[in-house]
Symmetry: C2
Subunit: 695 residues, 2 copies
Amino acid sequence: MSCSTESDLRDALFSPRSVAIVGQSDDDAKAAGRPLKFLRRIGYAGRVYPINPRRETVLGERAWPALAALPEAPDHAYIVTSTEAAVTAVEECGARGVKVATVLADGFAETGAEGAARETRLREVRANTGIRIVGPSSLGVVDLRTKSMMTANAAFDETDLPVGRIFAASHSGSLIGALLTRGKARGIGFAGLVSVGNEVDLSLGDICEATLDDPGIDGYMLFLETMRHAESLRRFALAAAERGKPVLAYKLGRSAAARELAVSHTGALAGEDDVAGVFLRSCGIARVDTFDALIGGLPLLARVPAAGRSDRKRVGVVTTTAGGATMVVDPLASRGVTIEPASAATLAKIAAAGIEVKPARLIDLTIAGARYDTMKAALDILLAAPEFDLVLVVVGSSARAQPEKTVQPIIDSAGAGKPLAAFLAPEAPRALAMLSKAGVPNFHTPEACADAIAAALARQTPRAMEPRSFKSPGNGGPVLDERAAGALLDRLGIARAPSLALDTAITQAPALPFPYPVAVKVLSAEIAHKTDVGGVVLGVVDGDALIAAIRKISADVAVRKPGAKVARVLVQPMLTGIGEALVGYRVDRDVGSLVMVAAGGVLAEIARDRSLRLAPVDLATARDMIAEVRALTPLAGYRGRPKGDLDALAQAIVALSRLADDATVAEAEINPLIVRPAGNDVVAVDALVKLAEPA
Amino acid sequence: MSCSTESDLRDALFSPRSVAIVGQSDDDAKAAGRPLKFLRRIGYAGRVYPINPRRETVLGERAWPALAALPEAPDHAYIVTSTEAAVTAVEECGARGVKVATVLADGFAETGAEGAARETRLREVRANTGIRIVGPSSLGVVDLRTKSMMTANAAFDETDLPVGRIFAASHSGSLIGALLTRGKARGIGFAGLVSVGNEVDLSLGDICEATLDDPGIDGYMLFLETMRHAESLRRFALAAAERGKPVLAYKLGRSAAARELAVSHTGALAGEDDVAGVFLRSCGIARVDTFDALIGGLPLLARVPAAGRSDRKRVGVVTTTAGGATMVVDPLASRGVTIEPASAATLAKIAAAGIEVKPARLIDLTIAGARYDTMKAALDILLAAPEFDLVLVVVGSSARAQPEKTVQPIIDSAGAGKPLAAFLAPEAPRALAMLSKAGVPNFHTPEACADAIAAALARQTPRAMEPRSFKSPGNGGPVLDERAAGALLDRLGIARAPSLALDTAITQAPALPFPYPVAVKVLSAEIAHKTDVGGVVLGVVDGDALIAAIRKISADVAVRKPGAKVARVLVQPMLTGIGEALVGYRVDRDVGSLVMVAAGGVLAEIARDRSLRLAPVDLATARDMIAEVRALTPLAGYRGRPKGDLDALAQAIVALSRLADDATVAEAEINPLIVRPAGNDVVAVDALVKLAEPA
């Protein structure tokens, strides 16, 4: 009995009429003992079938010997057995007509060939019986409203769990306990939580998608370790955006060390972090970098509408503590948010309200004093001021000692006007609880406050993309030779340097179709990075020098890349511009077609100073990309320098990004793309094109 | 009656026998009403003289009409009057023989000329009477042990204040309340806290220094808004290091926006953030970036000895939640800390203890299970393993549900072996309290945990410096002409390019003492950035071209810098190397003599990719500096490129840094310094030298 509709799936996952716990232990201190204990404590009203072939009873209840012995096929089975037994149990579930099986055991793809074979068996059961599978390595699937709490996570071992309107999904099983308990401490409640495990069948995106039409869910909190199954994540995110349900994500893997851990931990290959960032942004998912911002950020996200490309990043600040406010301003400004000074009109209104402030970038109420009327009036004026997109209020010691004076007015003003976020400098649990209860976004650390504000202001309306962008490139097919690569550039409308291929065996230089000086480069499909092996000589002034350059290249490559076949070199005129860029296209394993721009040269590579987008892009996006690359700044006319043809560069980015429509190309890189002065175009000097693996 | 010794000053500040509250209000809801209320509530045992000329009583106590009317000169007066009255009160305190006056009012240097005049009056009283002054704009001076609690900060309006062994000093007055209350919530107590205000007399460093021999103080927590009075901060920090008392600082101003706020808020000019960072590091002060790491970092700092230059940044990780641990690993790795995998020997010991772990960069106890014996044995093995400098333990849901299983073993193991830091993924107040009570460093957010670990591992043994480095350069004196600048380089032993100065009026090129091609540069003391005004022509091939270049430069400068006198140009041979560097020296207003290295060129400037140290430096430090500049990486032989003469570059840095011994020079910049292949030296092509203002 498979789930024929999305709502069937949702019901089987989150409001099953009956559940089986396969492998339920009699010892509730063990992970395998917890599910039944938790279900009974919370008071799940459906039918529960504990299965344990070795015992008559578990935790005082009748234990069933096997799935086959049950009087009905349960909607959902939580399989808490050992690894090998779990595979068998899923097979039995499939045969018995169980709709969803959630598997706790690990020991699958992350453990190598044997584990991968187990995953294959699970997929076969899924294909043959229609059963849907959560996990393996799932610490559980929980709905706090229906009390369907199928989890082995120890953090659920308590009463008074925080029921609310947020759905949390996590690659890490332990983290659902951290989200639950930290949320509870902050007055934040959950409709449901799921630990998605290895996603052998149902992915994180699939599971979230199944909950989209749940009217009791207002927003999503995601803890991501990998970009695996990005396509379903995107599908879910776009549908969530349509419904006005914000999605907030924390993703591990900013550092290479963390990405390596993700590999060994989950068995998933971790992509590059900026690729993940660009992907999440293109889906309209707000990404935070601090754990506290994940916990506390959704109320703010719900109040800040997603934006298009145009920036709305102007924050007004009102405070009773300049030092405390600056703790938030510092990380905010570092994230590119503008701290906007109040306009003359706003300052005039503040003065007219009898509030004494020094004219500065903060509205500092220190002199005016910590009084209700002062804070209320100042806030109302700021919340109505057109120069701000969001108002940050930072309260000092009075937030703890006298919240009725400086925190109550925040609550009383927050409903009107633009979004507002509050940070309280002292430890002020009572005031934080007041704010949370009233639904006012509030934060316990200055860093989380800044992080959540920046993420909310940066959130974009998602960009719909064709499914073509999710084709996996495999390992890539053959590399095009220079002629074919040149033809591809011609087809895309990207100007390129003239060139002539010469045999390395020649002893006399032929007449060239362009003047000296020239550049000479090794031509070999085996050599992708010519400079690294001594394969490039620049500024060759005449025919004799050309022959000498060919000899030098042959000799250098023989030393640095012994065995590489060096039959030909490419000769090109020396092109000069006022700068260089690198423009690249590739089909990423996780997120699909990407276009990239960086400054050419080794420095840009070392600094990882590049801008990425999902491909294709339009001209405005290409211009944004250029502006994001720090090393291209001089080409915009820095300190009196001549301007480069950035329009032509943007057009080349757009042109290369259109390869997203060409399924045969896996990768293309123009490096360098010579940037000439404004009006004089850009010229590709070298291009590397790799085809997709034949299907 | 002035303080003749350090201990006199300490006593007057923190254990006065008698205090006056000048301007004490009868309304304890007002700031000026709080000091007496707080002193009585905490039970200060000394004599208290509330002074209020307009009332017979305040808060039910006798009010004295004036300082002159008191039966004795109180040791310490807290002046909580309005601004103008405060100046008068300090004068009266001086006349009456009060030892220390702390001033609450603002309206001094931060408000312009009138305020600056008030500060001058305070300094005169200080000079004439010997009274010491805290503030103005001081929210108070508090000793929780002697119960001398002279503060108007509302956060002290409670009983059960956390007494401990930490001394906190803050430029922000509100923040002492935040430190106190957040510390209390984390089980961290204070010996004393001070809000230093504008530091018109006693600086933050002076006040901390006065407490150095207090046996009840183990460490220092600093909240800094400015590097004002860096000399006293350094003196204090070096003396603290000698006594083994760690100093932990949070400094605002990572962003330009925050630095601007500091200017308007405190009246102090804010220097560059990396200068402050280098200064703090050279003082042996650990700097954190997150507020929670400031609150909770000292216990860890106390367990990690300060290091010399050599790196000890290898952290071992044991966890029951790979996802939770990676939350700490990610920011740790981003801060340059190495997550060290366990050695084969360590893994063998873990296996021998019967603990099943997958070989990975984390010791992940998920499979082994959340048991006391497992955690204890794993921790003991890691704490004894030579490959780690510090052990991080991250506990998942069991930290909340069953701390006796996974948190108690941390407490039982923490005493032995190397430093240990704990992060608990769920909300786990009971476990955190257990850890804090046992003195085990613990953190509530993954970011603070990583921040504190990185800061502790990066802390250096301070470097003693001569006081010469604190001479203020004023606005700088005259700029040396090229001949004098060249002579200075010769004296320092830095090789420079030959050159010839020519009059711009010449119509025929003279014979040159070096071959063409040459570079031609405008020579004018009015033009510091030659390229920006079209003042440089490179690759001039012969005499005619030289004359043309002189004409072009004259014409360009006339357009871009009208009015600048262009009488001469400098001609130099075109020198080629394999890279360029910029080496600079300057006397910073706050921190004294600095030496800097960056890659030459506009890109390095845009990226602010530079390394700084206090000057002078030795060769090893100069090598560290070169390694810190990303844009110089290619010169170390990146991907098969030729190596530059980095030894010679390091020697040039050392040589220029010796200007710290030359009081006549305010600033010197060699740009570019051509770096030739290894063994071929570096050559200065251009140098700008600015003399100090005549004394």
